[in-house]
């Protein structure tokens, strides 16, 4: 009985520890959100203030600082590149699962994985030169092209793993009925794998949204995305903690919401289905 009591007590302590550690882990994000509702004076006060009169002023300032233009660029770059990656990736995954011989399919998978492993910095120099020559620097179109390339491997390997799980009988039924490949993909494969494909698309949106490397190297004034706005905020206007916090809160809202929603698929998306 004593042992049971000790065990119960230690269980309770472990639970408390778990809550405490998770709280500590996300504390920086929580504190940032809180700081966004402060005045600038309250934001730099030491000791930090936990209770204060919340204000929406900083969010207003962030909105008025050209937020909508950056937001537009971020949304278009993320959505269009994801759509393009879906259009290119779904047929490729279909071919790999249902049409290609095993060996060519495996080769293709290896190639897809290896492109995702290539350091971005390695292709930056040639891309920069080509893009400059084509006069496409600081163009939203360029970001879309680059993000599509960045997300295509992710989409192919996730789509592939969902297609492998589809019940073969249904597809064979469609083939027997004489459905064309396009019909099979559009009417059967995509609807049946929809939840997985949606998750893959959401992850692809997060990656494009969170990118800083290509956004900072390939854009200046016409096509910069939200992460660039945040970085420019501090360097141009000195240190405005509350304003930066408010703006940052707005920026991370999208990936956090999507990521928690698609949490289950997160690991799979990153590790190419090596771990389901």
């Amino acid at each position: 009985m004593v042992i049971a009591a000790i065990r119960k007590r230690s269980n309770f302590l472990w639970t408390v520890l778990t809550y405490l550690l998770v709280f500590l882990l996300v504390f920086p994000v929580l504190w940032m959100v809180l700081t966004g509702f402060k005045t600038e004076i309250a934001a730099i006060t030491i000791p930090p203030t936990l209770f204060f009169q919340p204000t929406l002023d900083q969010f207003m300032l962030a909105f008025n600082g050209g937020f909508s233009a950056y937001f537009f660029n971020s949304v278009v770059a993320a959505l269009v590149s994801t759509a393009l990656a879906l259009v290119l990736g779904i047929p490729a995954a279909y071919a790999m699962v249902f049409q290609m011989r095993k060996k060519s399919s495996d080769n293709m998978l290896f190639f897809v994985l290896s492109t995702r492993f290539m350091p971005f910095a390695a292709i930056l120099v040639p891309l920069y030169v080509i893009i400059t020559r084509l006069n496409l620097l600081d163009n939203l179109f360029t970001l879309i092209i680059v993000y599509t390339a960045m997300n295509l491997p992710l989409l192919i390997w996730m789509a592939r793993s969902y297609f492998l799980d589809l019940p073969q009988e249904v597809l064979e039924g469609a083939w027997l009925d004489g459905a064309s490949t396009l019909q099979t993909i559009v009417r059967i494969v995509v609807p049946m794998a929809a939840p997985g494909l949606a998750a893959a698309a959401l992850l692809s949106i997060i990656f494009a949204w969170n990118d800083f490397f290509f956004a900072v190297t390939l854009t200046y004034t016409n096509a910069p995305t939200l992460p660039i706005m945040v970085a420019a905020f501090t360097s141009n206007e000195g240190l405005f903690l509350a304003k930066v916090s408010a703006l940052s809160t707005l920026v991370i809202l999208v990936p956090v919401a999507i990521g928690i929603y698609a949490q289950r698929y997160l690991v799979q998306g990153l590790t190419g289905g090596a771990l389901k």
Partner: protein, 315 residues
């Protein structure tokens, strides 16, 4: 899957055979459906890489167009390896960043995974919340770390430390690389946690029960029983963590911009600076090619190390 169907066919060939034909026939069909995606990836990554190799064999400075584009052979490589006093320290920084962040993330991620694998109230919500550092925009959160937490004047970390008598620390000047490592580890902890949690689902409950019956304590159970069963998840966490952390860029850009001096320059960051700050395209392409070789060697080395250990244990 098609093999499974074929195995079922055997007892009733006439009906099932007809259904299995399209699969076999279609598999052999020539297909072009993967070609657009393949072409896209080849143009943007492979051809770009070949161009980088080509550029790396030339001297090319965009700021001095009169010098043109002369072929210099391997001079850029010699220059990088032998004459550039920054190169080897920067390789050291890169190694420290990758190894330091992944080790910290492995420890913290394992602790969180084990704690969140217990049946506690609100477990799924907690898991979701714990994922947040991994989802937030890296460059944005690095800035928040710098201004809200590690700032020498108004940072919360210094405020907390003064309670135990530690005077103000200017984190990004005194410990620049360590500060970046800490931020990167914070971001990657949830990734390790998710991978290990997924792995823990495959550890059979009976094994743990048996250990408990034998009187093993929690630490022994983890170290002797669970940890060896998690080899694959750890391999995946290390492999993918390393490859992605190697690419760290925004976190460095917004916190230290590579400084002070070159103390937080990593190979990718140095490549970027050589290309877009000093516009030495040939030299930057060389660094990019070296980066690819390093990434490939690291990935292959890790894979080999992992498979060798597996075989040794089998034998």
């Amino acid at each position: 899957m098609s093999q499974a169907n074929q195995a079922v066919q055997i007892p009733t060939p006439p009906v099932m055979k007809k259904r299995a034909v399209p699969t076999a026939a279609l598999r052999k069909e020539r297909t072009w459906l993967h070609l657009p995606a393949l072409a896209y990836m080849i143009v943007l990554t492979q051809i770009s890489f070949l161009l980088a190799v080509w550029f790396s064999l030339h001297s090319w400075n965009l700021l001095v167009p009169s010098e043109g584009f002369p072929f210099v052979g391997l001079a850029n490589y010699v220059n990088t390896f032998v004459n550039d006093p920054n190169f080897w320290p920067i390789m050291g920084n890169t190694l420290q960043l990758v190894a330091g962040s992944i080790i910290l993330a492995l420890i913290a991620g394992t602790v969180l995974a084990l704690l969140l694998n217990r049946p506690i109230w609100g477990r799924n919500v907690l898991r979701g919340i714990a994922t947040v550092p991994f989802l937030v925009t890296p460059s944005v959160m690095a800035l928040i770390w710098k201004d809200l937490f590690l700032s020498p004047t108004s940072g919360m970390v210094n405020w907390l430390l003064h309670f135990i008598g530690i005077p103000n620390v200017a984190w990004f000047s005194a410990f620049p690389l360590q500060s970046v490592i800490f931020i990167v580890a914070w971001e990657w902890t949830p990734f390790v946690m998710l991978v290990i949690l997924a792995g823990l689902q495959t550890v059979p409950g009976e094994v743990l029960e048996a250990a408990k019956v034998d009187g093993a304590n929690a630490f022994t159970t983890f170290w002797r029983i669970v940890f060896p069963l998690l080899r694959k998840p750890y391999q995946i966490a290390v492999l993918f963590g390393t490859i992605f952390i190697f690419q760290t860029f925004g976190e460095i850009y917004v916190t230290t911009a590579g400084g002070p001096g070159i103390s937080t320059n990593t190979l990718p960051y140095y490549t970027y600076r050589t290309a877009l700050n000093s516009f030495q395209i040939g030299q930057a392409a060389t660094l990019g090619v070296i980066g690819v070789v390093v990434a490939i060697l690291a990935a292959r080395g890790m894979l080999r190390l992992m498979t060798e250990r597996t075989e040794a244990e089998r034998g």
